[in-house]
């Protein structure tokens, strides 16, 4: 894959973006006349903003190239630092530092420290982890930082950040005023670019950072310290995110969610423009996005139905870049050093048993037939049933990730977008085809049709990115989620602002069952989940399931045994989209109304994160999505009790809010998820699982061996330790080092 070819493809992408802008103008141009003056001004604004995007994106690229980690928390770090800046500079009750000093404190102190901490605590352990785990941990970090920012700087107060140079100061082009601070931004970004160039090409550390990209193993063989290099890259990357965040803040509504959705996507899109490798192309990418945004604002007005369409520009650029990039070569030759041990697949009868057990258990619990000694919870109230319903709806959406991410190892950040599309179809099919009533038909016999219609959408998202590495598939699902959430769903023709979906029923002609009570709807969801879980267990044992798992283990190996990797990815994506779409029908029915907040990126990411933390390869992981609901429910029950404020706080404000982020971050230590660990403890109890008992015994045996032999394996021995060990083992070794040996090797 040559640089020239990439450049051509990017030119095509850029051309396509520009052409769509022109077409949009031709069709929907605002009533402004085109004038040179306006073009100049829109360009200045675009370049200034774009240079900040470029700044942030460059930080992302520096981290990716030196450490191999694609950091979804990059924008989140910028957001957090921007709010720290607000706290120490703008907050009336804060320190009130002068802006210059505050900027220096945040960019040169807070951000680098944060970056180094992140590297030390999390990222270093993930270098050889599978892409899914890497992505989940960084996304978890993003969600965590954002939740933290939201908790500290709650939205009860309007905040703002002033530009470094007063807005009023500037000069005129014709009758329009261009403030100086925009130029200041351009200059700052330019200075940083020059600084980076010097750093990377003129200093030894910089050369070493580029060397890591080229040949990581060889870099450490030269004696360069990889830990220092990666720490430095994280510090640098965080500083750049912070600087960009602070400088962008004056131009937008300053709240964590808003700033994050901007910083996240612009940095990623610009970085993708440079294939997350080339710094010059990344800068171009940032400028292109900035220019497209400002010219869009200047010339095009799509009306109130497309209020948020400007937020889709960066995702669209990302999509186009993915489309235009030439096919990546499969990396053959090196087998991943952390091959997964073979996983036992659940047997069909076990699945059937589990499914039935789940339905029975849910029924008994909800009816209140179950007593725990003196504690009799009683029949579930309507609030209880509502909570159960929202948990099960999430569980159904979560199921769609099992084959895709859990088995095939492909990341999808857009489960809610697919669910929303299913909801849209459910609603519109009813309206368009004059099926009974307004709204959805309500009759579940049409459900498979929704699944069928959602599949092509999934295929569409995957088909361009499937040629590329797994990262790009994750990125295009992110772009897809943002485009759907900002352009498609808010449109009143897609989902009405306020709409009550009618209750569901199943009418097969000779028999009819209604699900119009809370209890029956809840039980319907339980049955759907049980059916879905069972279907997945059967699917996992089928040819498709085996193929998908084979693909995750090694794409190259799968390809050599005749699996068409691209096609397989597309099929599994379509399957997942179809499952999510069907889940969307229940989701929409459970909500009283659907609006843009229902599709918030974070809501979708929470589903993905919780599924990952539970262990995506297990269908039952879907039940973990009830996590937040359960914690909130418990907290509400406890609220009536006295003296448990701390517990309530812990459940409601800590676990329920920070849980998803923290659990995903926890994948650093437990990559295979909670269910796997639980199963390891639980399975040996089951009478028919002799294999599990044997495995446990074998593992314990392995542990015993390493405890003795492994004493010195992680650290160089001291002579005392060797003597102690030898005495312990009863070995007298004639070359046991004595105190006379000193560390290191004598020079020849």
């Amino acid at each position: 894959m040559t640089f020239g070819r990439i450049r051509t493809s990017l030119l095509v992408a850029f051309g396509a973006a520009l052409a769509s802008l022109v077409i949009l103008y031709w069709r929907y141009g605002a009533d402004t006349e085109v004038s040179g003056e306006k073009i100049v001004i829109a360009s200045v604004i675009g370049l200034a903003t774009g240079s900040l995007y470029a700044l942030s994106a460059t930080g992302l690229v520096v981290v990716y190239t030196t450490t191999g980690m694609f950091n979804f928390a990059h924008g989140g770090i910028g957001v957090f630092c921007a709010f720290v800046y607000w706290e120490i500079v703008e907050n009336a009750d804060g320190l009130g530092l002068p802006p210059g000093l505050g900027l220096a404190v945040v960019v040169l102190l807070v951000a680098p420290l944060l970056g180094i901490l992140i590297d030390l605590i999390l990222m270093r352990r993930l270098r050889t982890a599978p892409l899914v785990v890497q992505l989940m941990v960084t996304v978890g970090l993003m969600v965590f930082l954002l939740t933290l920012a939201n908790q500290i700087w709650q939205a009860d107060q309007i905040r703002g950040v002033k530009p470094l140079i007063d807005r009023a100061e500037g000069f005129n082009i014709g009758i329009s005023r261009v403030p100086y601070y925009r130029f200041a931004n351009l200059v700052i970004a330019g200075v940083i670019a020059v600084f980076l160039r010097i750093l990377l090409f003129r200093t030894r550390t910089g050369v070493a950072m580029r060397a890591v990209v080229d040949n990581r193993e060889l870099t450490s063989l030269t004696g360069a310290r990889p830990g220092l290099l990666s720490g430095f890259a994280w510090a640098l990357g965080s500083s750049m995110a912070a600087l960009a965040g602070i400088l962008v803040a004056p131009d937008i509504e300053f709240n964590p969610a808003n700033l994050n959705s901007l910083m996240l996507i612009v940095a990623i899109s610009a970085a993708a423009f440079g294939q997350v490798r080339s710094l010059p192309l990344t800068v171009v990418g940032g400028l292109v996005i900035g220019l497209l945004e400002s010219h869009y604002q200047q010339w095009i007005s799509l009306g109130p139905d497309f209020t948020f369409a400007n937020r889709a520009i960066a995702p669209i650029v990302l999509f186009l870049v993915v489309l235009a990039l030439p096919q990546a070569r499969l990396s053959v030759g090196r087998v991943s050093t952390n091959l997964r041990p073979i996983e036992r697949t659940t047997r069909v009868w076990e699945g059937a048993f589990g499914a039935v057990a789940l339905v029975v258990l849910a029924y008994v619990l909800a009816k209140g037939w179950f007593h725990f000694g003196v504690w009799d919870p009683g029949e579930w109230s309507s609030t209880g049933l509502n909570k159960g319903t929202s948990a099960m709806v999430l569980a159904l959406i979560g199921l769609s990730l099992v084959p895709l991410t859990g088995w095939a190892g492909q990341v999808n950040f857009a489960p809610l977008a697919f669910a929303g599309f299913g909801a849209f179809l459910w609603l519109r099919l009813g309206l368009w085809f004059g099926l009974p009533d307004t709204g959805g038909t309500g009759n579940l016999v049409w459900l498979p049709l929704i699944g069928l219609l959602c599949a092509p959408l999934g295929a569409l998202v995957a088909v361009f990115a499937a040629r590329l590495s797994g990262l790009y598939l994750a990125l295009s699902s992110l772009a897809f989620a943002l485009i759907m959430a900002n352009v498609v769903f808010p449109h009143p023709q897609v989902l009405p602002r306020v709409h009550t979906f009618q209750s569901l029923y199943l009418d097969v002609g000779f028999a009819r069952q209604d699900f119009d009570t809370r209890f029956s709807f809840f039980m319907l969801l339980i049955v759907m989940f049980a059916l879905g879980m069972f279907a997945l267990i059967v699917l996992r044992r089928s040819r498709f399931g085996r193929r998908w798992v084979a693909m995750q283990d090694s794409q190259a190996a799968a390809a050599t045994v005749g699996v068409n990797v691209v096609w397989t990815k597309v099929v599994v994506y379509a399957t997942s989209a179809s499952m999510a779409g069907m889940a969307g029908v229940f989701w929409a029915t459970s909500l009283s109304s659907v609006d843009i907040r229902s599709f918030d990126l974070l809501a979708g990411l929470t589903i993905v994160l919780l599924m990952a933390a539970a262990g995506m390869s297990f269908p039952v992981a879907g039940l973990f999505l009830s996590f937040q609901v359960v914690f909130e429910g418990l907290a509400e029950r406890l609220e009536q009790t006295e003296n448990v404020e701390f517990l309530v706080w812990l459940l409601k404000d800590f676990f329920a809010k920070f849980g998803p982020g923290l659990l995903a971050i926890g994948m650093v230590v437990n990559q295979r998820g909670a269910i796997f660990e639980m199963g390891k403890g639980f399975a040996p109890i089951l009478p028919w699982r002799r294999d599990a008992r044997e495995e446990l015994a074998a593992e314990n045996a392995r542990k015993r061996v390493t405890e003795v032999g492994g004493l010195g394996l992680t650290e160089p021995f001291t002579s005392e330790a060797i003597i102690a060990l030898d005495t312990q083992l009863g070995i007298v070794d004639d070359v046991t080092p004595t105190a006379g040996y000193h560390h290191g090797v004598s020079r020849a």
Partner: protein
């Protein structure tokens, strides 16, 4: 008695769940050259990866200068004077020749010393300082890789299949340099597939088969046995 410069005692190691070395014993005496020979896939490169700290042994001991250094990081060993020129091209293709030379300073030698020595030994590299290393010819790339060994004055040098894919005349030139280093008293561990290449420089030789060192002895004897071993493998079917 000075301890061996490098010693592996019953070293076991592998990649993930795949075991490759099943108890390797190997001794390199100070100031000598040892050739480690064996067929493709025997585990020679893996042995060097263990000795340079790239792979942690899962069993056994790695001793350098008589000191157990199991678990030491490759960069720490490099700074302590262990130099591995890995299989393939041990260079950074997207850095210029000068930048590659600059990367040699991390083991503790100053830039001026390293560049003076490197360009003095290989004037051809001096002429191409500004060129990207990846655009050099195969022989020039191997010279650049060797330059690190020669310019940084290591205590232990390990060379992995230096001759691979190079014209005989260039191989001869490179081994000429190795001989000079050996004459200067440097301890060297050379890995090759074929004995002929190293017969001139090696003081002793060892055969590695299926993750074990099966024989050690004078190079000439080992060369004969090696041929037998290869034939044995071929007649013994795939393994």
């Amino acid at each position: 008695m000075t301890p061996p410069l490098l010693e592996l005692r019953g070293v076991r190691a592998g990649y993930g769940i795949i075991d490759v070395l099943h108890g390797v014993d190997l001794i390199l005496e100070p100031g000598t050259v040892l050739a480690l020979l064996g067929p493709n896939g025997a585990g020679k490169s893996t042995t060097l990866a263990v000795a340079s700290g790239q792979i942690q042994p899962s069993g056994g001991q790695l001793l350098i200068g008589g000191r157990e250094v199991n678990g030491a990081k490759p960069d720490a060993l490099a700074r302590a004077g262990v130099c591995l020129v890995p299989e393939g091209r041990g260079i950074f293709p997207n850095l210029t020749v000068a930048e590659n030379v600059r990367m040699m300073t991390f083991s503790g030698t100053s830039y001026s010393d390293v560049s003076d020595r490197a360009y003095e030994l290989f004037p051809r590299l001096g002429e191409r300082r500004k060129q990207l290393a990846g655009t050099l010819s195969g022989g020039e790339q191997q010279m650049l890789a060797m330059a690190r060994a020669m310019a940084t004055n290591p205590a232990l040098l390990m060379l992995d299949e230096l001759s691979m894919g190079l014209a005989p005349i260039i191989v001869e030139e490179l081994y000429g340099q190795v001989a000079q280093l050996a004459a200067g008293g440097l301890s060297i561990l050379i890995v090759e597939q074929f004995a002929q290449t190293v017969l001139g420089v090696a003081d002793s030789a060892a055969i590695m088969l299926h993750g074990r060192v099966t024989r050690t002895g004078p190079p000439a004897e080992i060369a004969e046995e090696l041929t037998a071993a290869y034939l044995g493998i071929e007649s013994g079917g795939p393994s």
